[in-house]
Symmetry: none
Amino acid sequence: MSPRRRDADSTAAARTRRRAELLGIAADIFAERGYAATTIREVADAAGMLAGSLYYHFDSKESMADEILSTFLTELWESYDRILQEKHDPRQALEALIAASFTAIDRHRPAVVLYQNESKHLGQSPRFAYLDASHVRFRDMWVGLLERGVREGAFRSDLDVPLAYRFLRDTVWVAANWYTPGGRLTADTVARTYLTMILEGIQPGPS
Amino acid sequence: MSPRRRDADSTAAARTRRRAELLGIAADIFAERGYAATTIREVADAAGMLAGSLYYHFDSKESMADEILSTFLTELWESYDRILQEKHDPRQALEALIAASFTAIDRHRPAVVLYQNESKHLGQSPRFAYLDASHVRFRDMWVGLLERGVREGAFRSDLDVPLAYRFLRDTVWVAANWYTPGGRLTADTVARTYLTMILEGIQPGPS
Amino acid sequence: MSPRRRDADSTAAARTRRRAELLGIAADIFAERGYAATTIREVADAAGMLAGSLYYHFDSKESMADEILSTFLTELWESYDRILQEKHDPRQALEALIAASFTAIDRHRPAVVLYQNESKHLGQSPRFAYLDASHVRFRDMWVGLLERGVREGAFRSDLDVPLAYRFLRDTVWVAANWYTPGGRLTADTVARTYLTMILEGIQPGPS
Amino acid sequence: MSPRRRDADSTAAARTRRRAELLGIAADIFAERGYAATTIREVADAAGMLAGSLYYHFDSKESMADEILSTFLTELWESYDRILQEKHDPRQALEALIAASFTAIDRHRPAVVLYQNESKHLGQSPRFAYLDASHVRFRDMWVGLLERGVREGAFRSDLDVPLAYRFLRDTVWVAANWYTPGGRLTADTVARTYLTMILEGIQPGPS
DNA sequence: GATGAATGAGCGTTCATTCAT
DNA sequence: GATGAATGAACGCTCATTCAT
C-alpha cells in the first residue's frame, strides 16, 4: 500500500468510518427513544459534539434515518437473495431466512427497531419509497415461499397464507424489541427455538 | 327527540359521550402517526374544533393518552381475569386468552397500537406507572400458564418458557398493526387461525 | 316603603349589591396575585360560578379593575376634598390627609394595592386616563400643601418639596401591602405613629 | 482590536457579557411592564432577536428573573455586610445602610423594582426561596439595629420598632419607582435628603 | 342569571436547521 | 471539522371572551 493510497484512505475512508460511527450512535438513540421523540441535540451530545456540527456530516435528521435504514435493508436483502438462490426447498429456505433475520437483528438491532417502528410513517415521504418497496418484496417473497411450500407439501395444506405471512414477519422482527446482543441467548439459539415453535407448534408432538 | 330523552341525556352522560368520541378520534391519530408525532392541532382538526378547545375536555395531551390506555387496559384485564377464574385447563385458558386478546384488538385497535408502540416511553412517567405494572402482570400470567401447561403435559416439555411468552405476547398484539375491524377476517377467525399455528405449527401434522 | 318600591329595589339595588360583592372578590384576588397574573376563572371560582358567567355582570376583566379603582378613587377624593375645604392650616391638613389615607387603606385595602401596583400599566389605556389625572391632582395637592407649609413655617425651610412629596405619597400607600384590617394596629394608630415619624423623625427630640 | 484582545475576550467572557446585556434588557422590561405581563417576545424584540433565540442563552423566563434578582441581592448583601462589620454605632450604621440602598437603586434600578413588585409572587416557587430568606434577613437586620439604637439612645425611646422597620424598608425601596439614574438628583443627594427627613422629620427642628 | 362549549389570539418553549468564524 | 449564535416554524397550552341554551 503506497503512501499516496494511505493518504486517500485517511480522508475518504476515515470520513466513511466517522459517518458510520455517528450513524451507530444515532440509530441507538432513535431506537431507544423513537425517531420523532429524538432530538438531534441528543444525538450530538452522545457523539460529544454540538447539534450544529452534525450538519457537517449529514444533511438532515431524515438523511440519518435514511442512511441507517437503507444500509440495513441493503445488507438484509443481500443475505436474503443469497439464500433464495441457494435453497430451493421451501422448508430449508424458510429456516435459512428466519436464521438470517435473527442474524440481522443481532447485527443491526437499532436499525431493525427503527425499521419496525417508523417505516410506516417515513414511508410516506418519497425519499423513503424504498421502504414500501421493501415491504412489497418482503410480502412477495414470503407469500411465494409459503404458497410453494403448501403446494409441495412442506407446509400444512390448510394454511391461511396471507395470515401466516404476517405471523412470520411480525414474529421475527418484533423480537428486536427485547433481544440483547451478547445476552443469555445467541441469535442462532433464538432462531432455532422460534423455528421449532413456528414449525411444530407449542403443544406436544405425536412422537 | 322528546324532553324525557334530552333530560336523561344531558349533563353527565352527554359529556361522557363527547369525551369518548374525542378520545376515539385522538386514539386513531395517535395510533396512525405515533403519539409524539401527533400534534394536538391534528386531533382538534379531526374533531372539527380548534386546538385550545380540546382543553375544555382534557387536561393535556398526556391525559388523553392516559385515558385511552387505562380504559383499554381496564377492560382487557377484566376479560382476562374472568377467563383465569373460569378456565383451569392450561390449554383452554390459552385459547380463551388469545381469543380475548383478538377481541380487544377488534374493539380497541388504536389503543392497542398505542399501547404497543408507546408504552415503553410513556411508562417512564409516574402517571403511566400502571403500564409497567400491566406488563409485569402480563408476564406473570403467561409464564405461569405456560409453566403449568408444561408440567401438566398440555405443552411441549422442551418449551423455552420465557421465549415462548414473548413469542405469544408479540405475536398477538402486533396483529393490531394490520388488523382492520370489519375487514375480510373477523377477530374470531384470526384468533382460531393464529391458535392453530401456535399450537400445531405450520408444518403438516401427523394426523 | 310600598311594595312597588321594594320590587324596584330587589332588581336594581340587588344587582348593585351583587356587583359590589363580585368586585370585592375580584379586588381581593387582583391584589393578592396581581392583575395580569389573575385569571378571570380564579375570580369566578372564588365567586362560585363559571368564568363565562361573570360576563353577565361585567363587560371585561378590565372593566372590573376600572370599577374597583374608580370607586376607590371617587371615595378617596371626596374625603380629601372635604379636608382641604375644612383645614386651612398646613400642618393640620397634612395630619388629616394622612389619617384619611390610612382610613382608605383600612376600607379599600385591595383597591389600594391594585392602584399602587397596576396604575402605571393601566394608566396607558385611555379608559384609565383618570388614574393619571388622579396622580397629577395628588401631586398638586401635596406639593401645594408642602410649599405653603414651608412658607408659613409649618415645615422645615430647607425641605426638598418634590422629594418630600414622593416620600409622603409612597410611605403612606405602600403600607397597604402589609396592613391587615382588624390586626394588631388600627388604621388610626398606624396613622398617628407614621405622623410622628414623618413630622419629628426617628431620632430623639430635644424635649 | 488586537488579536490579544480578541483572545482574552472570546468564549467565557464574551458569553458572560452577552448574558449581562440581555439580562439588562430583560430587567428593564420586567420592571417597566411587570414580570407576568412581559412576554418573552417583547424582551427578544428589544434585544433584536427572535423569541426562541433567547433560549440559547437562558433556560426560561423564570431563570432570567432569577439571575437578575440573585445578582442584585448578592451585591446588595455584600455591601450591607461590609457596613454591619464596620459601623457599630446604630446611627452611623443606619446612615450607611440607607446610602448603600440608594446606591443599589442607582446601579440596579430595574432589579429593585422587580424585587419590590414580584418577590411576593415569585417567592412562592422553591427556586426563589432566597427571596423570602432575604426578607427575613432584612427584617432581622433592621429590627436589630433599631432596637439597639433605642436602647443606646440613638433613636426615640417611644419608637414602634416593627412599624418603623416597615417604614424604613418601604420608604427606601419604593424610591426605585421614580428615581432616574443620571437625573436631577444623584443617589447620594437623595440618600442624604431622605436621611434628614427620617431622622429629624419634616417639621422645623428646635435648632 | 348561569352553564357549557367553543373561539382565537397569544404565550413560553422546543427544535431542526443555517452559517460566519 | 467543529463552535456559537441565531432563525423560523411549530408545539402544547392558557385565557379572555362569546353565545346558544
